[in-house]
């Protein structure tokens, strides 16, 4: 069995939540393997991260390089190619850094590459069987991966339950001297923080959230009327923002806002994981969708199969009627 490495993303001296999930994925891949964490960056942040990881990884390799103040995937790839032994299996979280890093790293290592892995079914010889999703999560696929020459695997955040058993006093090994000078044809310039927008959906306890099923911009008013009747705010999934029907600040999901409402009405939202990942705090989730097989029904508390353009106005009328009764 090849060595397994987990590349750990970190920020301000703290390892990302995916660190323990990658450890769990590695255990699933090979229950007997000792897994090495790799971190790249600059001191003193890097030392804080490596200290933190000593409780979860038996060994951590750190790469301290002044060029890695902001870890750009092109630079990290060069560093990893220099330190990784042949045939390594590398795990990294499937988010904006992993998506940048994995494909090019697999080419440089001449290793297999499989992305956005949800589950690991097992290893037979050098064939690894994993589970992925396609078509926005409407269907899953088993995928075989020949890892005899190593592999780069991106793992979906949240898919693996973090390991509870932890290693105590893992070793930290400084690999910085093996890396040398790093240069890139892409240079980090800075960050632009998302605009606040007119309504802060993260502060609302009730959200009427719309997706592609709302069909056109003029129909957004249907959701706004319901939200007004309920005293809620309107939020949305990605396609609504892509179509410019609502501001980016209304988007719930990994590339939008993380919300923690009490009640969440998902209207015409299929339920892609990128959207669901933005809904925290276990709200009462109501899904309204005309497709009875929409993935959202797997995670909702209550489901309604109907045309939301007809259903929502009737529900709005009901809410208005009942509220006018109760205030009389």
């Amino acid at each position: 069995m090849s060595r397994i490495f987990a590349y750990i993303v970190h920020k301000a001296g703290v390892a990302d939540d995916s660190a323990m999930e990658l450890a769990a994925a590695a255990r699933k891949l090979d229950p007997t393997a000792s897994v090495t964490a790799i971190i790249a960056g600059t001191a003193p942040d890097l030392d804080a991260v490596s200290n933190g990881l000593r409780n979860s990884y038996g060994e951590t390799w750190k790469i301290n390089n002044e060029a890695l103040g902001y870890p750009n995937a092109e630079l990290v790839r060069q560093a990893m190619v220099k330190v990784l032994p042949a045939g390594s299996i590398v795990l990294v979280a499937h988010e904006h850094f992993g998506i940048d890093l994995a494909p090019g790293l697999s080419v440089r290592l001449n290793a297999a590459c499989v992305s956005d892995v949800l589950a690991i079914d097992g290893l037979t010889g050098s064939t690894l069987k994993v589970v992925r999703q396609e078509f926005g999560g409407q269907i899953s696929a088993h995928v075989n991966c020949d890892i005899s020459g190593g592999a780069v695997i991106t793992v979906r955040p949240g898919a693996f339950k973090p390991l509870e058993t932890v290693a105590a006093n893992g070793n930290v090994i400084d690999k910085s001297s093996e890396v040398g000078v790093l240069t890139a044809k892409r240079r980090y310039l800075g960050m632009v923080v998302a605009e606040a927008g007119d309504v802060d959906i993260t502060k609302h306890s009730v959200l009427v959230s719309i997706g592609r099923g709302i069909q056109e911009k003029d129909n957004v008013a249907i959701a706004e009327e319901l939200a007004e009747a309920l005293g809620a705010a309107v939020s949305c999934s990605r396609p609504v923002v892509d179509a410019k029907w609502l501001e980016k600040s209304r988007q719930v999901g990994t590339s939008g806002k993380t919300v923690k409402p009490k009640v969440y009405l998902a209207c015409g939202i299929s339920g892609a994981f990128q959207h669901l990942a933005g809904i925290k705090g276990n709200p009462f989730l109501i899904a309204i969708n005309k497709n009875p097989k929409a993935p959202i029904f797997q995670v909702a508390d209550v489901g309604i199969v109907d045309d939301l353009l007809e259903f929502l106005p009737e529900f709005t009328n009901k809410v208005r009627e009942m509220r006018s009764v109760s205030t009389k």
């Binding site: 904006h96 940048d100 499989v114 078509f135 696929a141 890139a184 396609p239 980016k248 995670v299 009737e314």
Partner: protein, 263 residues
């Protein structure tokens, strides 16, 4: 600027419910509506907007079969200058690495300043663009949601990262970028536009024209293979409200009120 956009034709998830077939080994492909992969359409629009600002050409290429010509035609109706179908029986069963190998051979037959792909395909894994860049030794950026041309040598781009924040980078040309949805508003293409480009020839290139070694592509080179499709076991699943719409509305109001949904 000479721009290449790599596109794909995929089942359209806004038009179809993707379901398992009766044999349980593939998706049900009868009656599927196919269209341009959504991310790729944004990439073509972005290329067209760059060219309208600073001049140049847009070439759209796809690795596929005869049926895939329709998406090239569609993107040409949007304004793409050239369409190229890269097609050969030897390509069947290629994994992302194989597709990137084929595209690399195609890129090396031309001269492109900028290569765009969509971030991912509906049935893909967001891999081909990054692999192609590494093979060409070009810089790469994924999840790109804005492009500004600085000069002949570099672009200023932003990438979509967590929480709606943007990471700004400068990237040298030539480069490969994977384009995120929402970067622009792709123009509408009508039947009339497609008819207008119907007679423009679309060249087809195969493995021999591209000088590809059959061992480096297709099923024999693939390290990744999809075994089957399946429908995952449902979680606890939603309690589905049944009855007339009026009854459901009634029931839902009670539930929403009980869960604190009236402010």
């Amino acid at each position: 600027m000479e721009i290449l956009v790599c596109v794909r034709r995929v089942p359209d998830t806004s038009e179809n419910e993707i379901q398992l077939n009766a044999a349980g080994n593939d998706i049900e492909r009868d009656d599927l509506v196919y269209s341009i992969n959504e991310w790729d359409n944004y990439a073509v629009e972005e290329a067209l907007q760059i060219v309208s600002r600073i001049g140049g050409t847009v070439t759209v290429a796809t690795v596929g079969g005869e049926d895939d010509e329709e998406v090239l035609r569609r993107e040409m109706a949007m304004g793409a200058t050239h369409g190229v179908l890269i097609s050969d029986d030897a390509f069947a069963g290629s994994d992302a690495r194989g597709i990137a190998t084929i595209l690399k051979a195609f890129v090396q037959k031309g001269k492109y300043d900028l290569i765009l792909t969509g971030v991912q395909a509906e049935d893909g894994g967001a891999l081909v663009g990054g692999m192609l860049a590494a093979m060409l030794d070009y810089p790469f950026a994924s999840l790109v949601n804005s492009i500004e041309v600085l000069d002949q040598k570099a672009l200023k781009i932003s990438r979509e990262i967590a929480g709606g924040n943007k990471e700004i980078n400068e990237i040298d040309l030539p480069c490969v970028l994977s384009i995120q949805t929402g970067i622009n508003e792709p123009r509408y293409v009508g039947m009339r536009g497609i008819r207008q480009v119907a007679s423009i020839p679309i060249p087809t290139l195969g493995a021999p024209e591209l000088g590809l070694d059959p061992q480096s592509i297709g099923v024999s080179a693939a390290k990744i293979q999809r075994v089957d499709y399946f429908t995952p076991a449902m979680g606890k699943g939603a309690e589905m409200l049944q009855g007339s719409r009026e009854e459901i509305v009634e029931k839902l109001f009670e539930l929403v009120a009980a869960k604190g949904g009236l402010k």
